[in-house]
Symmetry: C2
Subunit: 171 residues, 2 copies
DNA sequence: TACGGTTCTTTCAACTTTGAAACATTGGAG
DNA sequence: CTCCAATGTTTCAAAGTTGAAAGAACCGTA
C-alpha cells in the first residue's frame, strides 16, 4: 500500500490479483491523487465553514441563503417554486420545507400563480430582504477571508476556468 | 443592480446610501465574482453528485465512505473514535451515529481501548473491507468522469495548489 | 488521595434532508 | 370531449445531522 486516502488507489495492486468479474478501473495516478486529496477535503470543509458562519451569525444555512439571494435578484423578488428550486440547486421537497419555515418567520410569502393553478410563487418580503441585507456583509467578508484573500489574480482565473469546466459535467 | 448571485455584490451601491452603523465590506470585484459564482456552484453540486452516486450504487454517503476508507488505511484497520472523526472530517456526534449504524450492518465493530477506558476503537471487519472494495472501482470511475477526465495536467496541478492554499485557512 | 479541569464519547431533542407517493392541474392525442 | 402522460408542488415517514449537555475516565497538582 503505497498511497492512501479517499479513492483508495492503494487497493489497485491487490485487486488485480482477485478473481472477480468486475472490470479494473483506471486508478488515479500520483499527480491526480496529489490534487484529489486536498480538493475533496476542501469540497467538504469549505461549505461546512460557510454554513457554520452563516448559521452562527444569522441562524441561516447556505441553502436558505441562496434561496433568499435568488429571490432578491428576481424581478419583483418573485419566483415560481420550481424555478427557485433550480436556481438555488435544491430539491423541490427541501425547498417546500425551507420556504414554509421562512414563511413562518415572515421572510417570504407564497402566492398562487394566476396562469397555472399547480404552481406557486414565492415572494421575498421587505423583512426578508432586510434580513438578507443584514447577512450579506459578513458573508462576503467570510468568502474573502477563506478564499480570495489567499489567492492571487492568476489563481482566481485558474479557479474560474476549472470550476466552469467541471460544472459542464454536472447539471 | 449590475451583478447578481450568491454574494450579492449588487447591493453594494444601495448599501452605501443606507445610514446603518455596519462597516461597509470590500465587495467582490468582477473577476472575483466571475470565479466565485461557478466555484460555489461546484462546491455544492459536486459533493451532491458524488453522494448520489455512492448512495445509489451502495447505499452509502460520502461521509460513510471516508470513514470506511480511513479505517481501511489504518494499521489493523483500527482507529480510535476521535482520530476517526478527525481524519474523516466529521463531528463526534455524527461519527457515533454513523458507526452505530455500520455496526448493525456488520461492517465495523467497537472495542474498548485497553489503555484509556474513555476511548473506543472502531475496527473495520472483513465484511466492511469487502464492501469498501466493492464500492471503490465505481467511485474512482465517477471521480474520473466528473473531474480528471475534464482537466489537463496543468489544471490538475493548479487545482492542487489552490486546494492546498485554501485548506490552510480552514482546519 | 482528593480535587478540578480536560478529554473522549454518547445521549438527547430539535431540526433538516431524503425519496417515494399523493394530489392537483395542464396540455396534447385520439 | 376525454383520456392519459407530464408537470408542479406538497405530504409522509424514515434517516441523518446538529449542538448542548451528560457521563466516564484521565492527569496534574496539592
Amino acid at each position: 500500500m503505497r498511497r492512501s486516502g479517499d479513492v483508495r488507489t492503494e487497493e489497485s495492486e491487490a485487486s488485480v490479483t482477485r478473481t472477480e468479474s468486475t472490470v479494473e478501473p483506471r486508478w488515479l495516478d500520483d499527480e491526480e491523487m496529489a490534487a484529489w486529496l486536498p480538493f475533496v477535503q476542501l469540497l467538504y470543509l469549505l461549505p461546512q465553514e460557510l454554513d457554520r458562519q452563516l448559521r452562527e451569525e444569522m441562524g441561516v444555512s447556505h441553502t436558505w441563503y441562496s434561496m433568499l439571494a435568488a429571490l432578491s435578484a428576481a424581478p419583483d423578488r418573485t419566483l415560481a417554486m420550481g424555478e427557485l428550486a433550480r436556481s438555488s440547486m435544491t430539491s423541490p421537497s427541501r425547498l417546500t420545507h425551507a420556504i414554509a419555515t421562512m414563511e413562518k418567520r415572515g421572510w417570504v410569502v407564497r402566492r398562487p400563480c394566476p396562469t397555472d393553478k399547480r404552481s406557486q410563487f414565492a415572494v421575498l418580503t421587505d423583512e426578508g430582504f432586510a434580513t438578507l441585507e443584514a447577512i450579506a456583509p459578513s458573508h462576503v467578508a467570510e468568502v474573502r477571508r477563506t478564499v480570495f484573500d489567499r489567492l492571487d489574480r492568476e489563481q482566481v482565473d485558474q479557479l474560474r476556468r476549472i470550476a466552469l469546466t467541471l460544472l459542464e459535467g454536472l447539471g
